[in-house]
């Protein structure tokens, strides 16, 4: 028995692989043929081998609020998500356009604020944004780049159109899983890669270190680049180690660094060694206790002064969070038009702003039909999916929105596209999203692939790992099938 024998129901959703539950889309044809001849027990065997490999290698993430063993493997589904080349080129162009505009926006926000003067976006929304860093007004970041590493979340609607769900411009994570998933798939289905022409994702580490080196102060001969991690208890610690290893750079904690005369050094067994570029995976708030949160033990006292003096570069820059605020998100299409004079290639999800009186009225009256999100949360926290929630949950959010409108947006629920996913012995449709990774160095690079996250719970639209999500390998093809 092969795994394709089971009955598959596409439901009323856009299915990545099947048209009407039966016909296979051209770019999935070869995968379909392979799965059609793969005995069920072979498939199970490969699945178990992949899970075991993840566990042994410690490819895990840490779950908060969970006392029963804090490390888990990220559930991995063996059915890849496949993107034909033509489709990918459009995605790539859309992402490049978007990150270009967002960088121009950040530069503008921290310098002339032309977009506010020209009334493209209400000043109160920008100046009152939680992650707007007034302290960095008129500060020029190295090479003029604010966002060096970006992970943009894309979804597909019922017609298969790609939409931008959110921009992650602070510390986007998941790139390590993109690479680990690929290596797992290569081991599980080596022959498929031969016949398919899948574009490799392994260049990510090299591209990342190049983008970081691009930021080094000009007079440094061989710059030293480090990855600053919150530490071993952070949920993404595996990723920090993984990326540091891929790049061949040291991973440091705040306590490993020290600032003397506005220069950053790391404490080594042979004394202090200068640091030129820091890929930081800790929030702005914790970077420097002398400037931001005083109780931070993760940061480095004096780091900001060294940054201001131009002696060390940070990726991403301080203050980028203002541009991935979910309220600002609603204005990104206008910002693209304003800065680039182009129409957005990748549209937004239709969004209502609780801060706007008319929108607010609409949200409060229709909350049970909408998806409501808090402006600055990540990881699927602080979110209400109206149609899937109880009356009490809706009421609670209604009160919160009314009390603090600036902090909320609402969106039409999108029927995320589904991909065939192995669930308890049968292939079933599960909702997915896509997070490609964009690097901004001397040029903008979009790694062909990304992290496809899948909501493993039946009917669930939440793909976050902290909320029962898993992942799939993402294949961008050389051609179209």
């Amino acid at each position: 028995m092969s795994i394709l024998n089971s009955h598959y129901d596409s439901g009323n959703f856009f299915d990545e692989m099947f048209i009407d539950g039966t016909a296979v889309r051209p770019h999935y044809r070869r995968l379909g043929e392979r799965l059609g001849t793969l005995p069920l027990k072979d498939f199970d065997h490969r699945r178990a081998a992949v899970d075991l490999a993840f566990l042994r290698r410690g490819v895990t993430f840490t779950v908060y609020h969970d006392n029963a063993g804090t490390e888990r493997i990220f559930p991995f589904d063996l059915i890849p998500r496949i993107i034909p080349n033509t489709e990918w080129q459009r995605i790539e162009a859309g992402l490049v356009q978007r990150i270009t505009a967002l960088n121009l926006f950040l530069d503008d926000v921290y310098h002339g604020q032309k977009c506010l003067k020209d009334k493209i976006i209400p000043p109160a929304l920008v100046l009152g944004a939680k992650h707007f860093r007034r302290e960095f007004m008129n500060f020029t970041v190295p090479r003029g780049i604010y966002v060096h590493i970006c992970g943009t979340d894309l979804i597909r609607d019922h017609a298969g159109n790609y939409l931008v769900l959110e921009d992650n411009l602070r510390c986007p994570s998941g790139a390590s899983y993109m690479i680990e998933n690929r290596s797992a798939m290569r081991r599980a289905f080596p022959n498929l890669f031969h016949s398919y022409g899948v574009r490799p994702v392994e260049s990510y580490g090299d591209d990342l270190v190049k983008a970081l080196l691009h930021l080094a102060p000009a007079d440094r001969d061989k710059p030293s680049v480090v990855l600053l991690t919150p530490g071993v208890f952070n949920s993404a610690y595996f990723e920090h180690c993984f990326l540091a290893r891929q790049m061949g750079i040291p991973i440091v904690e705040g306590r490993d660094l020290v600032v003397r005369d506005a220069r950053v050094y790391m404490r080594t067994t042979a004394g202090l060694v200068p640091v030129d570029v820091i890929y930081r995976r800790i929030d702005d708030d914790f970077l420097d206790p002398t400037v931001f949160r005083k109780d931070s033990m993760l940061g480095v006292p004096g780091l900001v002064s060294a940054y201001r003096a131009g002696n060390v570069a940070l990726a991403n820059s301080i203050g980028t969070g203002v541009a991935d605020d979910k309220v600002i998100y609603a204005y990104v299409p206008q910002l693209i038009k304003y800065y680039l004079d182009q129409d957005p290639i990748l549209p937004n999800v239709n969004t209502y702003l609780a801060s706007e009186p008319l929108d607010r009225k609409f949200i409060l009256e229709n909350i049970e039909k909408l998806v409501v999100k808090s402006a600055n949360e990540a990881g699927g926290y602080g979110m209400l999916i109206g149609p899937a929630s109880t009356k009490e949950e809706c009421e609670k959010f209604r009160d919160q929105v009314a009390a603090n409108p600036r902090n909320f947006i609402a969106q039409d629920p999108i029927m995320l596209s589904r991909s065939p996913t192995w669930c308890d012995g049968a292939l079933e449709g599960r909702h997915i999203d896509l997070r490609p990774y964009i690097l901004y160095g001397d040029k903008i690079t979009v790694t062909p692939g990304g992290l496809t996250r899948v909501a493993l719970r039946k009917g669930s639209l939440v793909v976050n790992s902290s909320q029962g999500g898993g992942s799939k390998d993402t294949w961008v093809l050389q051609g179209d099938e």
Partner: protein, 353 residues
């Protein structure tokens, strides 16, 4: 051909020349904990087997036997807080599975893995996988299961994993400063454990006991040697029957057996000098002086000196103190960090989008 113009991004500074103090610290402890787990596994394995050979032991004799092992480990107080009697099961429980004992096999392996995780980027994939698998192996087992299926296999697995780890370290880890910390930690731990294994039987070798030969329980001395993996090496060296003082001599003074105190001390002294950069004829550091003095004793004293002048127990305890102080000074001078209890909480709070 001319070198390419400087439009390419600059080269990355190679990492090999730099070792973070925190990394050194973790390498040292990871290595110590693995060695500790292995030594404990062997000690327990040997003594459990010994108990099987002496089924006729009275309860008092059993308790005395395990009591002397507890005493030599220095953990007798902690044990007494949690267990009413010292017998095979309770002592095994305490040394193998009890998370309340910071020196149990379980605690050691967990700590080794925690340290390995902190320096995951610095060690090879093979080293990490070995430690992680050992951790998963322990994590998936309860002591009841181990007891039911036979403890020997369990201890064997611990030992093999530890050996695999040491072998993979030798085969995959570059010989840089990190290597010095790994070896320093390993030999320091091993030296300490050898003194403790020997100390279990010290009361048989009191200074006035020149005629101990007849009174010695050969099986017990065999067990001591086996606890240090030394029985076969001893036999090759002395051939004849096992004599208490010769066993002690072998474990303390052998210059070729890699678990003897002398051998370990020579390694410790060597790595210590390299780590502290203390290479002169007269050491500059306190740790250097202590190490040289103990090494000189081990090179020049005889077993008679130890038994007659010092007393075996006193000699071993003194050696343990010196080892402690050497380890302490290296930690203080090369890798001191304050402990921060709230650190973990803030680490968790950091949003990874």
């Amino acid at each position: 051909m001319a070198a390419p113009k400087n439009s390419a991004p600059p080269l990355l500074r190679p990492q090999a020349s730099v070792m973070l103090s925190r990394v050194a610290h973790s390498l040292y402890w990871m290595s110590r904990y693995i060695e500790r787990a292995e030594n404990l596994a062997r000690l327990l394995d040997v003594n459990l087997q010994l108990m099987l050979d002496f089924q006729g032991f009275t309860t008092t004799a059993v308790e005395e036997h395990w009591g002397s092992i507890l005493l030599s480990s220095g953990d007798e107080k902690l044990f007494a807080e949690h267990y009413p009697h010292a017998d095979s099961r309770s002592v095994t429980e305490f040394f193998a599975f009890d998370p309340r004992n910071p020196n149990s096999i379980l605690s050691s392996v967990y700590s080794a893995r925690e340290n390995a995780r902190m320096i995951r980027d610095q060690i090879s994939l093979e080293m990490w996988e070995t430690i992680n698998e050992l951790y998963l192996y322990l994590h998936d087992r309860t002591s009841d299961e181990v007891w039911a299926t036979g403890a020997a296999e369990f201890f064997n697995n611990i030992k093999r994993s530890a050996h695999l780890f040491q072998g993979l370290t030798a085969a995959t880890y570059s010989r840089n400063e990190g290597w010095e910390f790994l070896q320093f930690g390993r030999f320091l731990e091993r030296a300490d454990k050898t003194t403790r294994i020997l100390d279990v039987k010290y009361h048989i070798l009191l200074p006035n006991a020149t005629d101990v030969g007849g009174a010695v329980d050969t099986a017990q001395w065999q067990a001591v040697l086996r606890s240090a993996s030394a029985l076969e090496a001893y036999r090759r060296f002395y051939v004849r029957e096992i004599l208490a003082w010769k066993a002690a001599e072998f474990l303390i003074f052998s210059d070729s057996f890699p678990r003897s105190l002398h051998f370990c001390m020579a390694e410790i002294d060597d790595y210590l000098r390299r780590i502290l950069g203390d290479t002169g004829t007269r050491p500059r550091t306190e740790a250097g002086r202590l190490s040289r003095r103990l090494l000189a004793d081990l090179q020049s004293l005889t077993i008679d000196d130890v038994l007659q002048k010092h007393g075996l127990h006193e000699f071993l305890v003194e050696a343990q103190k010196v080892l402690d102080r050497i380890g302490e000074e290296v930690v203080q001078t090369t890798m001191f960090y304050p402990a921060e209890s709230e650190l973990g909480e803030q680490q968790q709070q950091q949003i990874q989008q």
